[in-house]
Symmetry: D2
């Protein structure tokens, strides 16, 4: 009997809710661990004690625990959706503008950007996400780019209330000097087509989208379903594209801790400095977790522990 069949059996025997309760219990002693992102004042005020987790299967099951319905700042998790929209517009030609290799560097490093003349290593470091945003601004205009992102997330999650947290967006705009630096740096190599301030404005606002674990788990389901979003006739993206985005999440989804996350959790995932992480079990389900305290690489500390525990309880893994 294959491992997949084993798992299915094991999992059917319990209920998802009980799995999440067990996970929450496992990480209970660690609640509040890590350090809330402090370089964006509006994020620094978030209570580090929050913990929420939500799971959604492609068969329509769903379970949550803790603050699963409390919205938080999705930050870099938005990069998955930005990339997806850009790939839908540009296809493989997008890769003329940026790479898809793990960077081996911090999320906001500029070193490789200089040696590679303004071409970012991958779409999940900040420089790469700025190029992706620039593509969307070229496609839709500045207002249209944000609107495309918001309406996509509302539709995929089924939550029409998803919106930008304007206080966070303003806080990012005010303190986002490193991102401004990256954008001007690439512009100096001719790698940004649009006005830098316009691109940054869209970028800061998309990072400041507030969503709950429930919203995120549902909005990501097409990644676990060969590109098909529940309730849509047309595939959101092709099977090939969905698999490829999973591959990029696995190799590049956690900055300079991508290898560690693959080693410990073993699932494609994407984190944000708001403390959220989404992971995908291909052909099965998505999980979103939230806990604001970060580790040294900027990934949710308790969130990662929870996903490790989840994999241990369920045996779900791609390796």
């Amino acid at each position: 009997m294959s491992r997949t069949a084993d798992m299915a059996a094991a999992v059917l025997a319990c209920e998802w809710g009980r799995v999440l309760d067990a996970v929450a219990s496992d990480v209970g002693p660690h609640r509040g661990a890590g350090r809330v992102a402090d370089y964006i004042p509006a994020l620094a005020r978030v209570d580090p004690g929050h913990f929420g987790m939500c799971l959604a299967t492609r068969d329509g099951e769903q379970a949550g625990v803790g603050d699963a319905r409390v919205p938080f700042s999705i930050q870099s998790i938005s990069k998955v959706f930005g990339l997806t929209l850009a790939l839908r517009c540009r296809g493989e030609a997008l890769w003329e503008r940026l790479g898809r290799e793990p960077s081996g560097s911090a999320f906001n490093s500029v070193v490789q950007l200089e040696s590679e003349r303004g071409v970012p290593r991958n779409p999940f470091i900040n420089a790469g996400a700025l190029v992706v945003t620039d593509v969307l601004v070229s496609e839709f205009g500045a207002a249209g780019a944000l609107e495309a992102m918001v309406s996509t997330l509302r539709e995929l999650s089924g939550n029409p209330a998803i919106a930008v947290d304007e206080e966070v967006a303003a806080s990012e705009a005010e303190t986002g000097h490193r991102n401004r630096s990256l954008a001007h740096f690439m512009k100096s190599f001719g790698r940004i087509e649009n006005d830098v301030d316009e691109v940054l404005d869209v970028y800061f606002r998309q990072c400041a989208l507030a969503m709950s674990c429930e919203d995120l788990a549902r909005a990501s389901l097409w990644l676990a379903n060969d590109g098909r979003a529940p309730g849509r006739d047309e595939p959101f993206v092709s099977q090939t594209l969905a698999r490829r985005i999973n591959a990029i999440m696995l190799t590049c989804g956690h900055y300079d801790a991508a290898g560690d996350f693959a080693y410990r959790v073993g699932l494609p995932g994407k984190s944000g400095v708001g403390g959220g992480i989404i992971v995908v079990v291909p052909d099965r389900l998505c999980v979103a977790v939230w806990s604001p305290g970060l580790d040294a690489s900027g990934n949710s500390k308790v969130g990662t522990l929870a996903l490790e525990a989840f994999v241990e309880h369920t045996g779900l893994a791609i390796f």
Copy 2:
């Protein structure tokens, strides 16, 4: 019906041999493409027209095509087995000696090694593999370390004739200045315990092991079988460890093209500059492919194309 079940059905309907024939036919027009590694004279003389591929399933099925039984220099593929032996000896404590993050750099780069004071990024860049070899020399002595590697590969593959190609080993020793440089560099930070020349000797000889695709596919099967090697009562390694090694292969197995390989092929794999690549389909099978011409990152050009075609024909992928 799940994708895994789909695949199973699709695959049962054809025979593995026919799949490999189709793959060989697909890549036929590309035979000879790429550039044979020329920095090791004994490798530079290999005919770039070779192509071989072998598949072995955990259920005991096997199929080959082309030069599937022709031995070639496994080079960096040996790093997977070296790492495994070292992890069996030292467990998680091994990670005090090296990282497990993709490096974002070429296989022989020294830049990160300087900024990280002699601690290699991962076990699959040369510096990391030298640390692994150093661990094995500490455990088994210099002669014993090589013997442990050779006997393990003979046992796992069932081929008692596997041996070091002494001409290649001598050629590597003579021209391996970059590796000597890396080893002395780490020694200067106190990161190599044993005599540098002894460690290098084992390293060069393990890279010079000659194995065929058939040997490699069989010797790797425990990676696709939760750590259990066919015909052994005891697991070769634990399920957890097997999964973790797959994770490292996916994030770090192709030097600075790891992201590209994950994007295009989507399977854990490890390449060598001899032109070989092994990949793992967890819970199912292993494939080894060989074609000596390399791309700019040092990975087999036609071998990668063949694996892309294999995934396309079978739908086997982890994402």
Copy 3:
């Protein structure tokens, strides 16, 4: 008899004007060589055939040749004067904000800035000059900082007509993405005190000052006179400070070609991408030269040749 006395004798025997004529004749065949800076559109339009040179001694002698009185964009030569004003305000405490080591990198590199957390290597790379400008803005306000620079240069040169070329300033502001990037980068480390756009505005305008070789040679004389400017009762700066600024010019005045300039010319100097260079013969005189075509490091090609010829004709050198 000491070399200095030798020189004095040799030089008195000829007239300065004849020396400059000989130099102009030497470099005649090279007129127009090099590449006019093309990243600032207003500079790209300058005729590469210009050549001017002016010498002023601390004893009041002066000589010129060619376009010695044609104003051009002084660009980075302004960094010498900015640094001097900042050192007059802050003294040695200025070095808490930036280093005084040659960078080994291009003038606009960001690599060291990242590894050294936003502290520039020296005041003559762009990042360092931006910190200096920031200090001046803190001291005088944005308008006052530029005014301090302009009035100082007018007074030192005796030319009340010195002014910003507003077209060049506008051109720099429009295309200065790399400088914007550097400034925001340092701001992200808290290394810029004032509003980035204000600092950049002063910086772009000070670079866009238009001065002739005659203006520059006269305005620099205090560097050759232990800090005393002709016609001023009070020293402009102390002897110690004048010497130290000469030292920084020698080690850092020509970006990543500082060593080459010291080797070939052997005098403290500072170049600008407008094609100007000033050099100092301590205790004797200053020379300013202008020729718009640049070499690969961004220094005036014919200007450097002219200074080599000047040293050869006069034997004046500090080594």
Copy 4:
């Protein structure tokens, strides 16, 4: 009256011995400061309390203080003489093999060596000195290269007893992994012509030459005398070459503290991790100082203070 004439007057008024006594008295409270180089065991045992200084003028005057006649390990000061011999053999063609720019990096850094494909930045970082040694080995053979160095130093200093400290040489050879790494690294780019071990052997032995401050001050006098060594009919090198070596000493003589040394001392100089420093006052004299404790950049801490005091007492400076 020119500064030079001022100085001459001031200096004639005192005696050199009294100047050195005053300097020794100034630095007395700092005796023993800094950290003795500990990576070479034979150096680590040197008493940090040593202090010696010797001055020799081109007119034949000489003065010493403290341990001016105690031999110590000259270490990198040997690079000046190695470079000089190589330039005498190869002339300007030597610069095809290495640069002459300050590196902006530590003396043993490998980062730039990788990005510049094995071409060292300048002859005074270790990699550059290894290339220089390689040139000498090509010219004279391994034994001949060392012999050329030793006999030159004996002749220039007038001390036939100058010899390699074999204990230090053995200690360097045993612990010199970083230098081995650099040499193999360059060899991998084809930048070292001879056998790496032979080149290293000469290099380690030349660094282990034991000389006193008196030996060094006398052996360097040609640098202060337009290339003429006292008591030789033929110039040791040309005036041009002597000046150029001074220029390289000023820009590159103190590793990543070259700018600081120029700023504080303002004279061309070269330091060694044995705690020695030589400086040149062109057209006048040379000074050698020794105090084993080093600062963070590997330059003698008290030696640098003594040279600052010397400049303050005498007003001798090139700027």
